[in-house]
Symmetry: C2
Subunit: 114 residues, 2 copies
Amino acid sequence: MADCLFCKMVKGEIKPDIVYEDEEILAFRDISPQAPVHILVIPKQHIPTLNDLEKDHAELIGKLFLVASKVAEKEGVAQTGYRTIINCNRDAGQEVFHIHLHMIGGRSMKWPPG
Amino acid sequence: MADCLFCKMVKGEIKPDIVYEDEEILAFRDISPQAPVHILVIPKQHIPTLNDLEKDHAELIGKLFLVASKVAEKEGVAQTGYRTIINCNRDAGQEVFHIHLHMIGGRSMKWPPG
């Protein structure tokens, strides 16, 4: 998707602060962090929202969480805790229409989650 | 796990307000809803936290999101939007140590997510 911010990162046209990368997944620091640790984990494949998931995306979406927990460990927040969030559409505040998991840690979080 | 609240729901010993069920997954209304729609989606398999995920859990975790989006559609919030959250450990406020996805919708949500 030529005009997708995250696809541009996947292609290397925009350079985020990358913390993890493999063939299917990219993880990088959020430019507007909401906690001491705030990482975005995205599939390289362009899937706009959770509503666009097909059955054969299941393994890929699950892998985002394996990466999130691996990154949480590296960042030193796995044991203290972290919150993972995927927003879908307007009410949730989704701004980039390419699925992304927020992994937030390093401080105590409140409930409700926004 | 004999003393796990969600395992008791899976076994039918405690009866939640179920909105979806298949062989691997159960979804039910949160008893302390934080929005007009607040559903918990859990794997029937007992996995305590995101830190306990193994590679072969990926597809199962992804399926939680396919179910969340299906339930969001049924509940009438797929287009307006919904937030999905999985908490890990104390800082995130995880209370039941059996992985569960919160699907929250039906109102506008704030940022940061708690």
